[in-house]
């Protein structure tokens, strides 16, 4: 009987794979992280964190959630099982965004006010190195093989390529005005950088550092200056990318091979960041001005739900 029950339970669990999914959203103006159940698309909990939470990411083992607290100059550590704060990490001043290095041991943090990238040893809770970059570092990304970290600086309009081992600047590449997010393609061959003010994405070849493409976004009925490229996400197979278009209230779906914009999804107001579900079938956008997140069903190509999560949703990640 017990075995039967266990089997039944297991079968039930398999039938609803999305049940295993949890969405975490930083609410910049509420000083909270919203925890959302992926299966039911409902709010499970709201966790109080430090002041002005923006960048957030899961540890490589998915057990901890790191949250950058810009006004508290630290990174909060949330135990995702207990759904509560269990610790703090130093971050350098005014952390906005950060990347978890694939080694699972280090965070690379953009210190927006100090023109620095700080490297944080997670276990030791210590800043173990800094890299001088341009003015107002913002976007951070690590390559899948862990060799490189990329950082954008907003006022310098550059993406800085950093050797993750030696912490030396490998190159400084000029991009369009006020760059925000950056990402490496899963195969590590491309580096993408979004520009907020110019409303473009610039694509680089990571081997030659040459610019290989530029994506522009035309949104019907919205003027050029109303289209701004911010957060980005790329599918695991490297075929599709998603770009949040800020005040245009859209998320663009881009064919990575041709760099053509396939379609635009109308989401809430001012989407900052987007996140893909593990099965790659769903995209979630955090909408800063409307205080909600939008669920996009990528297979049926439609926005299926908006869920209020708090004031000023900014960052979003999806975990088990």
């Amino acid at each position: 009987m017990q075995v039967l029950m266990a089997l039944l339970l297991a079968a039930f669990a398999l039938a609803v794979p999305a049940a295993a999914e949890t969405i975490y959203v930083s609410n910049e103006q509420d000083n909270t992280v919203a925890v959302v159940d992926g299966a039911t698309m409902t709010l499970l909990a709201t966790i109080d964190v430090g002041r002005r939470p923006r960048g957030l990411a899961l540890s490589t083992d998915n057990k901890m959630l790191f949250v950058a607290e810009g006004d508290d100059n630290r990174i909060d550590v949330v135990d995702v099982t207990k759904r509560q704060l269990v610790g703090q990490l130093p971050s350098g001043a005014d952390p906005e965004f950060f990347a978890v290095h694939p080694d699972g041991k280090r965070l690379f943090v953009a210190n927006e006010n100090d023109n620095l990238v700080s490297v944080v040893d997670i276990a030791a809770a210590k800043v173990i190195g800094t890299v001088d970059v341009g003015v107002e570092p913002e976007g951070m990304a690590a390559s899948a093989d862990g060799r490189y970290v990329a950082c954008t600086s907003e006022t310098t309009s550059m993406v800085h390529l950093i050797d993750a081992g030696t912490l030396e600047l490998v190159d400084n590449l000029l991009v369009d005005t006020r760059p925000r997010a950056t990402l490496f393609s899963p195969d590590g061959k491309q580096l993408w950088v979004s520009s907020e003010i110019r409303g473009t994405v610039t694509v680089f070849d990571t081997a030659t550092h040459a610019q290989t493409g530029k994506i522009e976004f035309a949104v019907p009925g919205i003027r050029r200056e109303g289209v701004q490229a911010v957060g980005m996400e790329m599918s695991r197979d490297g075929a599709t990318a998603y770009v949040a278009l800020g005040p245009a209230n859209r998320v663009a779906e881009v064919d990575v091979k041709t760099l053509a914009v396939r379609r635009l999804y109308l989401v809430g107001q001012r989407p900052w960041h987007v996140a893909l579900s593990a099965d790659q079938r769903r995209l979630v956008s955090a909408n800063g001005n409307s205080g909600d997140i939008s669920f996009i069903d990528l297979e049926n190509q439609e926005v299926v739900k908006s869920l209020p999560v708090g004031r000023g949703p900014w960052g979003v990640v999806i975990g088990p």
């Binding site: 005014d94 927006e112 006010n113 023109n115 341009g134 003015v135 107002e136 907003e154 006022t155 310098t156 309009s157 550059m158 400084n172 000029l174 005005t177 006020r178 907020e196 003010i197 110019r198 003027r223 200056e225 109303g226 005040p247």
Partner: protein, 391 residues
């Protein structure tokens, strides 16, 4: 042999110099001004407004420049009271300086733009809001990063009309600048459908509200001055900040004050922290030990415009930079939510106008619903079709 070696040595130094980073020197002309009488105990007395903004612009240009082998330096010159700017312009011209931040009043600016040597320069006006400088007195060698009075008035008018506060009581100070600001408010009212129900001058002498029991006098004076037929908002033109702040909380009818005091229309304010402005405000405060003022911001924009062009061109070639700044490709990030460009017809930088409260940002214009065939930013100030500027 020795001579030969020495020559070789000199050549090698010259060679090194060429390979090293290049420096762009930007001129700055300011003028000594009589410090404004602080109206309230919280007011800071500031003697270096404008200049500090230009210095921060250089620091920001330099931090991009160090990745590109470009260095920037500010050559500062402050005119004594009544000193003509011609000497400073000539010295800058002799030194090969092509871009000068003109932190000057309108009269001085016009003199500077006509001084010998200025024809080879671009002056960037970071101080004078006079509409005449964008109209009949516009000059080919002058760009403007400070918003014009017409832009400020239009920015405020859009907000008030959006709020449906359409009936204005216009109260105008005694100085020519106040008259000019009032003219801009009248123009804005006509453009955006507001009505000036009362239009009257402020005729009192500037009282000293900080005298002991100063408030007692004001409490009786201000209701008397503001006893007019009903209106929605008191729009005040008092650029010298002599009396506008006395109005709030004392008007005969319970109405808000807007204009040069109260809800202030401005190019920049210390209360703005949106669009990433927190970092700019922090950088400025760390450098200057005070808040960033509109003239600081305009000077910062001017220096950053040159730096942005140098970055995009990978070059410090002054002719190319001058052309690029005036061209279609130029776009400057100015912490006001959208890229900033210069108008081809009068050299004015397009920019949002902040509507600032005393502690927080209230709004930013253009307001939603004010449409334009080119860009909503051109709903603020003198548009192409209205321009009388002929370079």
């Amino acid at each position: 042999m020795r001579l030969m070696l020495a020559l070789l040595y000199l050549l090698s130094i010259a060679g090194l110099g060429a390979a090293e980073e290049q420096t762009m020197v930007i001129g700055y002309i300011g003028q000594q001004r009589k410090p404004a009488l602080p109206l309230g105990p919280l007011d800071e007395a500031v003697a270096d407004d404008g200049l500090q903004g230009a210095r921060l612009g250089i620091a920001d240009d330099d931090s991009t420049g160090r990745f590109l082998g470009q260095k920037f330096r500010l050559e500062e010159r402050i005119l004594a009271p009544a000193e003509a700017p011609a000497d400073a312009v000539r010295q800058f011209a002799d030194a090969g300086i092509a871009f000068v931040i003109a932190d000057l009043d309108a009269g001085q600016l016009l003199q500077a733009s006509a001084a010998p040597g200025a024809e080879r320069m671009t002056l960037l006006n970071s101080r004078a809001p006079d509409d005449a400088l964008r109209q009949q007195n516009c000059r080919r060698n002058v760009l403007h990063t400070i918003p014009s009075r017409a832009m400020l008035a239009d920015g405020l008018a859009q907000y008030l009309v959006w709020k449906r506060w359409r009936r204005w009581f216009l109260l105008v100070g005694p100085h020519p600048q106040d008259q000019a600001m009032a003219a801009a408010f009248r123009r804005a009212a006509a453009r955006f459908g507001a009505e000036i129900t009362t239009d009257q001058p402020w005729t009192f002498r500037p009282a000293n509200g900080r005298a002991d029991t100063g408030h007692v006098t004001l409490q009786t004076e201000i209701p008397a001055v503001t006893q007019v037929s009903d209106y929605d908002v008191l729009v005040v033109a008092d650029e010298a900040d002599e009396f506008g702040a006395y109005l709030e909380g004392r008007t005969a009818l319970p109405r808000i004050v807007a204009g040069t005091q109260g809800l202030v229309a401005t190019g920049w304010s210390a209360v703005s922290e949106e669009w990433g402005a927190t970092q700019l405000q922090d950088r400025f405060h760390r450098q200057a030990g005070r808040w960033m003022l509109p003239s600081d911001y305009a000077a910062w924009l001017a220096v950053r415009s040159i730096g942005e062009a140098a970055t995009r061109l990978h070059s410090l070639d002054t002719a190319a930079i001058g052309k690029y700044i005036r061209g279609d490709a130029f776009l400057l990030a100015g912490f006001k939510g959208q890229g900033l460009t210069f108008r081809a017809w009068d050299g004015q930088m397009r920019q949002p106008i902040l509507i600032a409260g005393p502690r927080l940002l209230i709004s930013s214009s253009p307001q939603p619903g004010f449409l334009h065939q080119r860009t909503p930013l051109d709903t603020l100030g003198i548009d192409l079709e209205e321009s009388t500027c002929k370079f």
